[in-house]
Amino acid sequence: MKAELILENIGQYRGLKKYAINSGVITIFQGKNSLGKTTIIKAVGTALSSPIVSKNLMLEANKFGILPRDKKKRAPLVNYDENMAKIILIYDGENIEIIINKDGTIKTNFNGNEMFLYSGMLTKNSKILENLASGDYEFQWIVTEMSNASKYEDLKSIVDSYIELNNVVKATLEDINKKIGKNLSENEDLIEKKKNLEEDLLKVQEDMNNIDLPGREVYENLKSQENEKKAEIKGAENQLKKINDDIVKFDKDIKVMDDEISAKDDEINDIKNKMKENKEEIDRLKDLNENEINKEIHDYQKKLDPININLGKVLWGLSVWSNLKKNKQESNICPICESNIVITLKKIEQKINNLRKEEESYENKIYDINVEIKVLENKLKDKKEKIPLLKSQIDSHDKNIRDHAMEKDNLQEEKTRMVQKGKGQLLENKKDIEALIENMNSELEKVVGEKEDYEKRYEVLVPFVEKEKELTEEIAKIEGKIEKNNEEIETYKEITLFEEKIPIEKAEEVINKLSDEFDIIIDHIINKINEQRLGAAKKFNTTIKNVMKEIDLPNIENIFLETDNYNLKIIGKGGKPLPEGSLGGAEKATIGGILQVSCKQTYLRDFPFFIGDDLILDFDPENAEKFINYLKKLAKEEDLFVLITKPTSDKEIVQVELQ
């Protein structure tokens, strides 16, 4: 397979950079430090792994220098003098085009695999290598992230949040039940007390009735009038309370309507702004002069002609010199101008390199001109196609404004009608009831006054009346307490669970049923997570075993993940486990390389890329050679694109292939 990598405004390079890459071999980007070798690797990693959505992988991307640390920082891959960068990667029918804005937002036409950052990139920042370097042998994250276990974990976190809320509501219900129980038992005591007081009152009243008094009938009549008036006043006060509640509710309804009216105004203003923008865009498009644009396009096209001619000459030259190189043909005659000069293989190589640079320079110029032409053609296209579209949008906005205005008028009318009829009527009723209560209170005052006159005359009654008053007041107090307790119980008649109101008497049953169902769901998810991790670990171990057969390490017999805790186990020759501290940096780096390539081959085998940054620098030479030989074999057998960087003294990046 062949791949084409085009980078625009990436890293330290402004403008375009193009690389042709072959699969089945190792492609090395070599050169001295700070030339941008790693940037090429990062760009390929970005293209293959985007869009990156999981939080963990965003952190990885940040470590690799692909995404900024936070939104305030610049995207590290975008050239500092530019606002955006572009990566194009074409291979095997895929045509990946990715745009990175300086704020770190990425737009891609490719459904990449973000797991590539864990598996396909071997750098010092790779999570696997970092684990090993820090002596952390806990690798459960690999079998979780690289299998569906992580997805089950995501869903489990949602179910867990529901379980937590269900438990909170269960605890609230227990508190409520305690309060209700306390109120009910208090009421039982109060009712008993009230019963005793009523018996005492009855006795006092009977004793009073047995006393012979002149004009007693009138006095009794006044007493019953007093009771009647008091009952009537209580009834009227209840009515007044209800009217006041209705007024509060009414005001709330009006407030809701006011909010709706104001929201309509906002919507109308938004649409008006959009209309204004559309009109301004139409004016801008109308102002574009088609003749001038066509002339500019023509001028650019004219500039292309000499460049294309020169490019043709360069390509012809390249084919001639490449033939000489292919046939290893040294001569004394220039194949182009036929003059007498000594042509060695070294000179042929230099000539080809120079011509390739010229080719790249011409292609860059052609690309830039074509971009300018495309921009101008788009302007013409916009003028032709966008104006009718904008006009139809304006018509649609206009209709929306009229619709919203009509809805707003309807709301306004409804509000006016409610205020005039509804509230007016309520206020009138309130006034009537208040007047009635005032009237009844003055009548009651009169009756009580007359009654008290009688009581003053009946001195013998005074202690009875006082006792009666005392008992009546005490009974009223107890009734008030009972009523308050009942009102409090009434407020607990419902409980809210997941936005659903449940009658309090049903709540416990519902919460317990939910709890049982959640247990079954969680058991299922945990079993699945374990199953997924185990399957992923077994596959990983098989691949590591196969890779280890190819790269025979002198001191290590076997490497695998333990299937009970997913810790990494390294077995030395002779079958004894090697403790973490017994491994040197070079051995750890080699083991990291083996694990990284095994991870890629286990979980992302269909992805034909494996990339590494100065990957063998930290290996010891013998292991480095074995590892490179294995990568060569793997690249060939699996038709992989293997890209690595290598520090050399070259002053420019040189692309070399290892067969």
């Binding site: 995501d154 869903l155 659903e500 939910l514 769901i521 299922h524 998810i525």
Partner: protein
């Protein structure tokens, strides 16, 4: 005979949604919506 929807335990239905979500690589938000909807539906049924 197939069971009516409300006779199937909610856990059974949710497990089916979980497995579909994993199989089709569904979004977390979509699962949350379906899961929440089903829980509310059952609470409504149980509270009667």
């Amino acid at each position: 005979m197939a069971k009516k929807k409300n006779e199937v335990p909610v856990s059974e239905q949710i497990i089916e949604i979980i497995e579909n979500s994993i199989k089709k690589q569904g979004k977390k938000e979509d699962f949350k919506k379906k899961f929440g909807g089903l829980i509310k539906q059952y609470i409504n049924e149980w509270k009667k």
